[in-house]
């Protein structure tokens, strides 16, 4: 998309500008766009470009940003990558530590089959080439949460390479304008997680919890094909959904099961790539895009001020909203990579190469795993669009909340209402109530059956849709009541008696000749007044559309 000069070319909807402009860490680097449109908040790309075009400045050339990601996903498995201790979130400190995890001398790693399967599944889902032979290496550094003084990883020959990840970004302000982008997956590798250190500055000590040490990680390396925070966030979100659909990782960022490091650089289009910085440990979905955009902006400002970018590691300060340098500047760290001598090469097979008489417990067949792959989110969305004629953005929304799709499908099972209507109820009303009270789908007081029953009442025209909203609210509040009960209690049934309605309309018109005259004179609002009066007379139990129809018929006839 040819988005013209905006300081920084981002084909997506990059309204992040306006937000970051206020950061005090910036210095002079507040972009033109935000000073003029900052007050307006989000502006579309086109509008901003108009503004800058009117104020040409020196050195006002285009910038392009390049973002690559290293994503660490904790593998969902019963035990750790190389030892039998269990994997649990929030267990008492140092309660899930085997002799190997504590690096007791003489202990040896034993590879966890489930972790290998998880890596293969993820590699297949991301269209990677699965390496039938992969190797393990040691990466050395000294740190309190790394008991052995090295991490076992796959540096030379990882388990999967050369894949791609497709994700969706919104361009333009309207919801319907989404485009699909792809980012190349350089590789997926198996590696150990480290323990956790908690710094107690009060007592000048560091507390080390090794529960997490040795948990299996999948590191997914995404090539620098992304150009802004939004694209990166969208890619991470899609990866999260894929991992969750596969069951290979629960990928919950808040629980540390998905951690992102970003590699960011800027350059003028047509010129070579700039020096990159690494922004580490972006552990919040909310701040991911913000942190990346901040760093992009920081680099642009720095370079425009005549400074230079250091190839350094930075972290994002959530409170200040800016990136800060992280590691000591002693030069690049030498990890002294070495093959892991205690683990033979990892050999995987497919149906063709499987050795005869092989014990199925001892070998992994890639073809088998491919056959049993769960449905991927992109396929699920496609099916929803095809089956229900759903809007693509609704399919995205349904998959974006845990349990929501299942809820929708359960409602669909019990109602003959139009899918679009059901989707609208689920995504707007139902989801709205959930979000208001910060509940998960599983905690919803309204069951799919209840909602289906409600929708059926509307379908049969037993109640109006506005009455339905009232019923829903009541359903939400009071446990155990059925929609039918609530309708009866509140007397919300639509009038079924056509005769009575005809009479009421006639009576209302007779009682209000002034309004009728207004109407005949051509006042458009008069009809609504009449409808309102009839409705009142019916105690709200007549459908406004039906009333209108009767009135119009009576007036013309």
């Amino acid at each position: 998309m040819a988005a013209p000069v905006l300081r920084w070319l981002c084909p997506g909807r990059c309204w992040a500008f306006a937000r970051i402009g206020g950061c005090s860490c910036h210095g002079r680097g507040v972009p033109t766009a935000s000073t003029s449109s900052g007050k307006r908040g989000q502006s579309s790309v086109a509008r901003q470009s108009l503004i800058t075009a009117q104020e040409p400045r020196k050195g006002d050339r285009e910038w392009a940003a390049v973002v690559g990601l290293e994503i660490h996903a904790q593998i969902s498995s019963n035990s750790k990558l190389f030892s039998g201790s269990q994997v649990h979130f929030a267990a008492p400190p140092n309660s899930l530590v085997s002799f190997f995890d504590a690096s007791l001398p003489g202990t040896l790693p034993v590879l966890n089959r489930r972790c290998v399967e998880a890596a293969v599944m993820t590699g297949l889902a991301l269209d990677c080439r699965i390496n039938k032979k992969s190797l393990f290496d040691r990466k050395h550094y000294f740190y309190a949460d790394l008991p052995a003084g090295y991490q076992i990883t796959q540096q030379r020959l990882p388990i999967a390479v050369d894949g791609s990840l497709a994700y969706s970004v919104c361009v333009g302000k309207k919801l319907g304008q989404a485009v699909t982008r792809t980012v190349r997956v350089r590789q997926i590798q198996l590696e150990q997680d480290s323990g956790k250190s908690l710094h107690d500055d009060l007592r000048s000590q560091t507390l080390v919890d090794l529960n997490r040490a040795g948990v299996g990680l999948l590191e997914v390396v995404l090539e620098p094909d992304m150009s802004c925070g939004e694209e990166a966030a969208a890619a991470v979100r899609e990866l999260q959904l894929i991992l969750q659909a596969l069951g290979t990782s629960r990928a919950i960022m808040a629980e540390g099961q998905l951690r992102v490091d970003a590699n960011i650089s800027v350059h003028h289009p047509g010129e070579p790539l700039g020096v990159r910085t690494e922004v580490k440990n972006l552990n919040s979905a909310r701040f991911l895009a913000r942190a990346i955009d901040y760093e992009i902006q920081r680099q642009i400002s720095e370079l425009e001020n005549g400074g230079e970018i250091l190839n350094e590691t930075r972290s994002f300060d959530y409170k200040l909203g800016c990136t800060v340098p992280m590691r000591d500047k002693e030069g690049k760290q030498d990890y002294r990579f070495m093959p892991e001598p205690n683990l033979p090469p990892l050999l995987l097979y497919d149906s063709a190469s499987l050795p005869a008489g092989a014990d199925p417990q001892q070998v992994i067949n890639i073809d088998r795993i491919r056959e049993q792959l769960p449905e991927l989110p992109s396929v699920t969305r496609e099916k929803l669009v095809r089956r229900y004629g759903m809007l693509p953005e609704h399919s995205f929304a349904l998959l974006n909340e845990v349990g929501l799709l299942e809820f929708f499908q359960n409602v669909m099972k019990e109602t003959r209402a139009e899918p679009k209507k059901v989707a609208s109820w689920v995504l707007n009303t139902f989801l709205g109530f959930l979000k208001q009270q910060n509940l998960a789908v599983s905690e919803s007081p309204v069951t799919p059956s209840a909602l289906a029953e409600l929708l059926n009442l509307v379908e049969r025209k037993a109640i109006s849709s506005s009455a339905a909203k009232q019923v829903f609210e009541e359903l939400w509040r009071s446990e155990g009541k059925t929609p039918a009960q609530i309708v009866a209690e509140k007397q919300l049934e639509l009038m079924q008696d056509d005769e009575a309605l005809e009479q009421l309309c006639r009576a209302t018109m007779e009682a209000h000749p002034q309004v009728v005259m207004d109407l005949k004179k051509g006042n458009p609002r008069a009809i609504n007044k009449l409808i309102g009066l009839v409705r009142k007379a019916t105690l709200g139990r007549a459908d406004p559309t039906a009333i209108k129809e009767v009135l119009e018929r009576q007036l013309s006839g």
């Binding site: 002799f99 504590a102 690096s103 007791l104 001398p105 003489g106 202990t107 040896l108 790693p109 034993v110 590879l111 040691r138 050395h140 000294f142 740190y143 309190a144 008991p147 052995a148 003084g149 090295y150 000048s204 000590q205 560091t206 080390v208 002294r336 070495m338 001598p341 205690n342 683990l343 033979p344």
Partner: protein, 373 residues
């Protein structure tokens, strides 16, 4: 009794000629008498006597576990032994008591063997003399033999007697000395670049280095993971075969052990060597070889030849590169394996509170010795 082979002692135990407890007491008292050899770092007297008691019960019921039931053994101090201090002859692990047994130790204990103690070694098995551990050097029992005494008296006069002793070779010098001095019937050593075979040769006992992958390394505190193997020291070849039969086999805890099943074997009694072809690598005839060793080597070759075997020259052309490759691999793997000794989880820790790095540095400086290559 202490000079018998494993099979002979085992038979004696079965027949009641001697009890495990008596055997144990004999070995323990001999260990005390030969304390000057410095072969043992830890003598596990209580443990051994308890094990002897259990073994005795089994023999009484006629339900012995096998050839090793009730037999005193010793284990090099770089094997993890549950509840018994394991130091690797280093300050770094002084006071470290492992919570688990090495697989090979467990296998021997499962056969009813009696653990006499943990033997001395070069620190972390790095050395070939058993002289570099923090508990001092191991003395070769042959230092106190009549032949050696005579030789010494001829050479020098008035020199202090206890400063003139022979090394055991290493790094499994303690194990070799323990076997050579009859304080146990077999001992576990480890072999990376000759650390079982070298002291075996120096102490005049049998030292067997099993092929890599045959015997589990789980619990063997590693020096070079790609080359370490547990080694077996005995006083005769048949005994070594018995012990190997017990130790060999796949261990799920050690991914580098061979998966093929190991069938128990009995050494054939080789009376006819006419079908045997013995190769002598020509590259091994190094100029640095001592004349004594060279003549013994020739003697052995001639022995085979005179008995009808074919003795031919073979070539191992990469021999000269082996030591440099060894040094590269050894130094990198050792550096890697020593990285875990930082004082945090176990072992020696220096009480330096300035920073974690400072604590690491101080701990490792105090815990480790100088490496003499």
């Amino acid at each position: 009794m202490l000079g018998r082979t494993l099979r002979e002692v085992s038979a004696a135990l079965k027949q009641g000629q001697i009890t495990p407890t008596e055997l144990c007491q004999k070995c323990l008292s001999l260990i005390k008498k030969t304390k000057f050899l410095n072969a043992y770092i830890t003598v596990s007297e209580e443990v051994a006597l308890k094990q002897a008691e259990e073994s005795e019960k089994r023999y009484k019921k006629g339900r012995s576990l096998g050839d090793l039931d009730g037999i005193p053994i010793a284990v090099k101090d770089n094997f993890s032994t549950s509840g018994i201090e394991t130091t690797c002859a280093s300050n770094m692990l002084k006071g470290y008591v492992p919570p688990y047994n090495a697989t090979v130790v467990q296998k021997l204990l499962d056969q009813g063997a009696l653990l006499m103690g943990k033997t001395n070694l070069d620190e972390f098995a790095m050395g070939s003399g058993s002289t570099d551990g923090i508990f001092g050097p191991v003395k070769n029992p042959w230092s106190f033999s009549e032949q050696y005494r005579k030789k010494r008296k001829q050479k020098s006069h008035g020199e202090k007697e206890d400063s003139d002793w022979l090394i055991t070779g290493g790094s499994s010098g303690g194990s070799a000395a323990a076997v050579s001095a009859f304080t146990c019937f077999t001992a576990l050593g480890s072999d990376t670049g000759g650390s079982t075979r070298n002291p075996a040769a120096h102490c005049g006992v049998v030292g067997l280095k099993p092929s890599y992958g045959l015997v589990s390394r789980h619990g063997l505190i590693p020096l070079v993971n790609s080359m370490d193997v547990p080694g077996i020291l005995t006083r005769c070849v048949d005994d070594a075969a018995i012990v190997l039969g017990i130790l060999a086999g796949h261990d799920p805890k050690d991914s580098t052990t061979v998966q093929d099943p190991v069938k128990p074997f009995v050494l054939p009694s080789l009376t006819d060597v006419s079908k045997l072809c013995v190769g002598i690598p020509k590259e091994y005839l190094a100029p640095e070889l001592s004349s004594e060793v060279r003549s013994l080597w020739s003697k052995a070759a001639n022995l085979f030849e005179s008995e009808g075997a074919k003795v031919i020259e073979v070539s191992l052309p990469h021999t000269s590169f082996s030591i440099v490759c060894y040094h590269v691999l050894c130094t990198s793997e050792v550096a890697s394996n020593m990285a875990r000794f930082d004082g945090l989880e176990y072992g020696h820790r220096c009480d330096v509170g300035v920073s974690t790095e400072a604590m690491y540095a101080a701990t490792r400086r105090e815990g480790f010795n100088d490496v003499k290559l």
